[in-house]
Amino acid sequence: MLDSLNYLALGMHEAFTATNIFWVLIGGILGTVIGMLPGLGPATGVAVLIPVTYGMNPTTALITMAGVYYGAMFGGSRASILINTPGDASAIVTCWDGYPMARNGQAGKALAISAWASFVGGMISVIFIVFLALPVARFALKFGPAEMFALLVFSLTATVTLSKGNLLKGFISLCLGFIISTIGIDAQTGVMRFTMGFGSLQDGIDFLVAMIGLYAVTEVFKNYASLDANYGVSTSDIGKVSMTRADWKQCLGPILRSTPLGFIVGVLPGMGGTIATLLAYSTEKQINKHPENFGKGAMEGVAAPEAANNASSVGAMIPLLTMGIPGSGTTAVMLGALMMLGIQPGPTLFTQHPEIPWGVIASMIIGNLLLLAINLPLVKPLVQLLKIPQRILLPMIMGLAFMGTYLMNYSASDFFLLVLFGIGGLLMSKLDIPIPPMVLALILGGMLEQSFRQALTIGNGTPVLFFTKPISIVLLVLAVLSIVYTLVKDSRAKARISKGQAA
């Protein structure tokens, strides 16, 4: 305990140099901008910085890259809220209530909530990392294929809560997503599946392409019907960009619950921000007194995922710093960059170069404060985006969608997929089939399948592992309970409504 504080003091000493503060600021701003642009995620942002970090000392390099990482978490939700286009994968969930809030004339408030929730989530997680880094890292090792599978199943129960009443259509959407997620080379056997001879499908369909197509392109197609309208929001009352005392009261609970959840998911290898936000969102929806408001612009629906994704980006630094294991795509790029500087993060980093990990941890405190200071004043100018008439805004969104898609894989064949998903999304919305379960299945499908089959291989072809590992059992039971609870609650609500009508 005291050791941690001593080390933190060392880290503060390391981080509070003019150079490092300058680079946190640069990293944070760059991250915010990159996070806002669809397709450009934190991994790209860090990669772009690699040549810049050549001449730096390792602590400064890592501080800068970490700044980009959580800067992107702040920025990712801007586009989600304003134009229903997630800036990166972990900002998908923010669309679900952030965009409805913007349509209800609360864009400013939504942006403010997202900035504050990101800040609080980030700060609390830094406290976690100071005191809990090592035990949490050890706990994460307990997650093998069976436990991962159970956790993914548990997060998939969110589908039930996301189907907005029509469970059947929700499952149709989910299954479509799973089918698409099997395209490409199967990792466990090396067999090609459903590539139909297209070389460009061998690596599977990047869920980010699907996501930009289903959200941004679909949104554009839908709005072409009403080209002359603007968003139908009176722009005068958007100006309210702060959170009131009542707002805080409503959001604090979700933020405080979502932070530890996001933090732990961030530590698990291969999981990351998207799953953290999903779990946070569905948890909040299930325990909320008014779950029917979720998806229609509930403040909690913005606060919870935003706190969770920042917490997970801090959590993801733990395996990197304590064990040298990259827990996410972004930290993998960071690892590569550090190796070029002659630093190999690993189990010995904390003992041999304590100034590096602790400098980074201390810089997160500065970084979060700076990001809040950058992001709150940005709310007002950003909201002006909504004043842009549709006929100008829609082509801009389309342009951003194509640009983001190309920047992800530098592959022009993704353009076809992008448009296909856009058309698919339009059809789905005409048929009233919810899109979120499909996106969910696309993100989780690959991992779900791989962890399931890894567990089968280890168990000599039997599912014995799922029912002998305690964590797996607990999570599977929770998954069942979560579905049952939602169903019961729904049917009771329906009964009440029909009773009310009868009376």
Binding site: V46, A47, V48, I50, P51, A140, L141, K142, F143, G144, P145, I185, A187, Q188, T189, G190, M192, G197, F198, G199, S200, Q202, D203, P269, G270, P319, M323, G324, I325, P326, G327, A332, V333, G336, A337, M339, M340, L341, G342, Q344, P345, G346, P347, T348, N409, Y410, S411, A412, S413, G446, Q450, Q454, T457, I458, N460
Partner: protein, 344 residues
Amino acid sequence: MRRRTSWIALALVGGMLLTGCGATTPAPSNNSSSAASAPKTWTPDATIEIVAPAGPGGGYDMLARTMERTLTGDKLVDKAIIITNKTGGGGATGWAYLNTHKGSGNYFAANSPQIIQNNLLGVSTLSYKDFTPLAMLQAEWEVVAVPKDSPYKTGKDFFEALKADPTKISIAVGPALGNDDHIQFLKLAKANGITDMSKLKFVVYPGAGGEEIPALLGGHVQAMTISLGEAMEQYKAGNLNILGISSDKRLEGDYAKIPTWKEQGIDVVFPHWRGVVGPSGMTPEQIAYWDNALSKMSQQQSWKDAMKKMNMDVYYLNSADYKAYLEKSTQEESDLLKSVGLIK
């Protein structure tokens, strides 16, 4: 046939993109000067482009960027060098792009055993034969690691146990079957007389070391076949044991205690290498230029230091030796992958 068509389509798209950024891309040298007056020696006549067939930060990218730093930093070439990242198809996108510059000496791409394996596994129709091998440049070594409390203390113990029951041990491998990590293990199994190799329990982790190491440390698998670079920090921290290494002699320093397979009586020496290929149709003069420049690069102190930082050995083969090596390994690996049914 179908796949070929799609590759042609891909190449066309690549070509279109290329013309799209024609302003920044120097045109391939237009050897309009008559053959009679062609100079005996060749030097790069425009900006040199190194293609890293993967995203920034990975092994290919680091190789390309280190090359750029030594070649320009030590003034081994007098033209500027740019690096292009082309991701997709396990390297195939980048290599296909390289061949849009047929016959040019100003372009080359990083490659690795992937160029052999992707072709064998049917992932790509491109093989090393579609390019001009220029040099093998670096190698790292493969190891088999087990948890520190594993009952297996030596390579012999381990393979004896597997020979008795090939399904006894779950082995982590990643990111995909048929790569060097996997092939090392197959070579070892074969050398130890394990006949039914298709029964071996390989658990594939698409996230490679980042997922394999936690799986091993958490006790979810009992062994992993991996490059030393990915396992070494955990080894140094005493979290895992390494049963053997695929180098021909023991490494130095921190790794001096790791026995080679050879000294344990298992006849396997296997570098996990990276090198560079040029587009098809390069002239002997162009090849001679790069043989000279790249062999010099391999001897530079800055190159040796950079390799050391990345935990790589400098492992230079010139264009002729490299080509011969590629031929030989293609045959060997094809036989191994057939024995586990990955290819027919």
